[in-house]
């Protein structure tokens, strides 16, 4: 019964299809219906955008409580207010809930309205589902199953509109498929702050177009493709590549910058075809930038390293993992900690960083840092820090200030005091080192995804996995712990990075008790107070906000004392 005693002041009672629910004030009716399990079909409404109410698909029957002469709601037999139903349907996307409101989402009038709207929308819509990329995730297809007619009563000629229009470098528009929902226009105005799209002409001849002389080329343009309910806006990159029903969607996040936008990776048979944003209101809302979205092509590149290789007779020769790891461990054991440097990467997962820091401890080296990557950021999503896991590196003690030690390292390599270099997922040639200096290093070990100039100069190359090929966690710029999941398998004999590092640690220290990636995380959570009590499973699909992440780098727990002693004991005396 609606009164102040039974409902908290900020919530209101709403009757949806005969059942009373409570919703907070300010909830849109369409959202309230969805929360009550009554999905109302919609085209133009998007919960992250404003509501223009122009598609008319969300028509419902609405009513207000009947007021008595005393201006109090009249109560029915069940003690609830009697509802005065409005004679005409209302749109529910632009209306907030109010006290005592009644909503009918399945009445004959509502169904008839939806059928009518569908018929109008399909008058000029082409029947080209077999070639349309949206087929399979098209709202128009879905709702025409529910509310469409079998045939068309429209005998006149359909309106011709431009097709295959290049709206921008990454978006292709088919105006005939457009149902004029204006989601893309509102997105560009409200989210991307780049007001380039608009409707011109009138009636059936209305077309979506870019402002004359302008193009839809902002860094968020591909989000318009995601929110387009039909196949009007298509991604030029994904266009005609793969039907969406073949794609396996893996929950992951983008590793192109420190924001870590949550994504779905669409892959089929170990090939990634697209990346789309996944809603996470604590990180990226429902959006992601084009820069990060299209940055997955290197996963399927021809330059991927397929076999571990070690230097034999001055030639990098393919070998198996067991020999490669043993070879690397042997190379490193020749040097003392003061001779070895590790250049790690802010693109590594926490687990890999943890194992790296343990390797550094067991080698006894202080020369360890990550390479900073920076680029222009914006105030929407893209971060200036292009390392997805700088915070993880700080938390796990790989570095206190990313890149601070790199110039000294380079200097020491040039002067010859550093004689062994381990490079993890970075290219040292970009740091000011020359090919000759790298070639002269007695031990130069690289772990890398793909071949580059520096891998050719290495004494051992360990092929590792890209972000979509492994499980692991990272901490984004806001201190949120997020999880990567494996979407595709690594090519050839490439392995998970953490497995390589685990085996290397094992070869250096005999035993480390790590069998699964969850073991690595357990060790981390025992050592790092910020991660206490967590596991990879608990991270969940939406991640976890870590507290006290900004505290000065927590001293990582030293590896067990006996590990170090063991490593010291095994080191050849004449190092």
């Amino acid at each position: 019964m609606p009164n102040e005693t039974t409902s908290p002041p900020q919530s209101v009672n709403v009757q949806i299809d005969g059942v009373w629910h409570q919703f907070p004030k300010g909830t849109r009716v369409i959202e309230a219906c969805e929360q009550a399990g009554k999905y109302v079909p919609r085209y133009c409404y998007h919960k992250k955008l404003s509501s223009p109410g122009n598609c008319r698909m969300c028509l419902i029957e609405m009513g207000m409580p009947k007021m008595g002469p005393d201006r109090k709601p009249e109560l029915g037999g069940d003690g609830k207010p009697t509802i005065n139903w409005m004679p005409r349907p209302q749109i529910c996307c632009a209306q907030d809930v109010s006290e005592g409101m009644g909503v009918r989402t399945t009445s004959p009038l509502v169904e008839e309205c939806r059928r009518g709207v569908m018929e109008f929308l399909l008058i000029n819509h082409p029947l080209d589902c077999p070639i349309c990329d949206q087929a399979g995730e098209c709202r128009l297809q879905e709702f025409s199953v529910e509310y469409g007619n079998q045939g068309s009563r429209f005998l006149e000629n359909k309106v011709k509109k431009p097709k295959n229009v290049e709206l921008g470098p990454r978006v292709t528009l088919d105006d005939e498929r457009c149902i004029l929902c204006s989601r893309c226009i509102r997105f560009c105005q409200e989210i991307a702050h780049d007001d380039v799209l608009g409707f011109i002409d009138r009636g059936s001849h209305t077309v979506l177009t870019a402002h004359p002389g302008k193009r839809l080329e902002n860094n968020y343009s591909l989000n318009t493709v995601d929110i387009c309910p039909v196949g009007a806006l298509t991604s030029t990159d994904f266009r005609f590549k793969m039907r969406v029903w073949f794609l396996k969607e893996t929950k992951s996040f983008c590793t192109s910058c420190a924001t870590g936008c949550n994504t779905l990776i669409g892959s089929r048979e170990d090939v990634i075809h697209r990346q789309t944003p996944r809603e996470n209101n604590d990180v990226n809302s429902s959006w992601m930038c084009d820069y990060g979205r299209l940055k997955f092509k290197y996963v399927d590149s021809d330059r991927r390293l397929l076999e571990p290789r070690v230097l034999q007779n001055d030639k990098l020769t393919a070998t198996d993992w067991k020999r490669a790891i043993a070879n690397v461990a042997l190379q490193l054991k020749h040097f003392g900690g003061w001779n070895i440097a590790i250049i790690a990467s802010g693109r590594m997962t926490n687990e890999e960083m943890w194992l790296t820091s343990r390797i550094a401890k067991s080698l006894g080296t202080q020369w360890i840092d990550i390479v900073p990557h920076r680029g222009p950021g914006d105030d929407i999503l893209l971060s200036e820090d292009r390392n997805p896991n700088t915070n993880g590196a700080k938390l796990l003690g790989l570095t206190s200030e990313p890149g601070a030690m790199i110039p000294k390292m380079v200097e020491a390599i040039k002067s010859g005091s550093l004689r062994a270099l381990v490079v993890l997922c970075e290219n040292p040639l970009e740091l000011g080192l020359t090919a000759d200096e790298l070639r002269n290093l007695p031990a130069f070990i690289t772990m890398s995804i793909s071949q580059n100039e520096s891998t050719d100069l290495s004494t051992a190359v360990l092929p590792s996995s890209a972000f979509a090929e492994k499980r692991g966690s990272m901490i984004n710029g806001d201190g949120r712990l997020q999880r990567l999941n494996r979407a595709v398998r690594p090519p050839g004999n490439a392995r998970d990075d953490w497995e390589i590092l685990r085996d290397l640690l094992q070869a250096l220290t005999d035993s480390n008790g790590v069998y699964t990636i969850d073991d690595v995380f357990r060790q981390m959570s025992e050592a790092i107070p910020q991660l206490a009590g967590l596991s990879l499973t608990k991270v969940g699909d939406l991640g976890l906000q870590l507290v006290n992440i900004d505290e000065s780098p927590a001293p990582p727990r030293a590896p067990k004392e006996d590990d170090i002693e063991l490593a010291e004991a095994k080191r050849p005396p004449g190092r």
Binding site: L127, P130, I131, R239, R243
Partner: protein, 176 residues
């Protein structure tokens, strides 16, 4: 619940079974004699002789891609047949029709279309699911090859088997 079965009432001749056995033997003997004198043909001399002319309309031979009267490859690479194919014999690589092509308005075509005839089970689902009337099970049934590679029908081979199909809906013609 037991259902009483109705049994025929046999007379004494039928109950003896011997007359029936004798008449059965007589039929066998008659066939034997006809076969000896070449009046009954049980087999045909395949491959010199075939029954291709007698194949029924619903016969399901090898799947093939067809062109229409205008010479357009009907397939638009929607990949529904690839999706429905129970043994996963079909593999399609979609491509975009260049804008200067005669059929540019169709936009999409199969760059590659492979049917692995070792896998194909001739079920006809591809024909049934095709929204473009592009793939049909033809009456060809002789699929041979010395290697697995030869047993994969590529697009050219499929079009060669398919030939031209008359009387299909030309929906892209009056496409707006």
């Amino acid at each position: 619940m037991a259902i009483p079965a109705s049994r025929p009432n046999l007379n004494w001749r039928e109950r003896a079974f011997l007359p029936a056995i004798v008449s059965g033997l007589f039929i066998t003997w008659r066939h034997f004699v006809r076969y000896i004198f070449g009046r009954t043909k049980v087999t045909i001399q395949y491959p010199e002789q075939t029954r291709d002319a007698d194949l029924p309309d619903y016969y399901r031979g090898t799947p093939a891609l067809v062109k229409d009267e205008q010479g357009r490859i009907r397939c638009v690479a929607c990949q529904l047949c690839e999706f429905i194919c129970p043994p996963r014999a079909i593999k399609i690589l979609p491509g975009e029709i260049p804008t200067d092509d005669r059929f540019a308005k169709v936009e999409k075509y199969p760059e590659e279309f492979d049917i692995d005839m070792i896998r194909c089970i001739y079920c006809g689902m591809c024909e049934e699911v095709c929204p473009e009337q592009a793939i049909f099970l033809r009456k060809d049934y002789v699929v041979t090859g010395f290697t697995r590679e030869e047993m994969v029908h590529r697009k050219d081979k499929l079009l060669e088997i398919g030939g031209v199909m008359h009387g299909v809906v030309l929906k892209w013609n009056d496409k707006k």
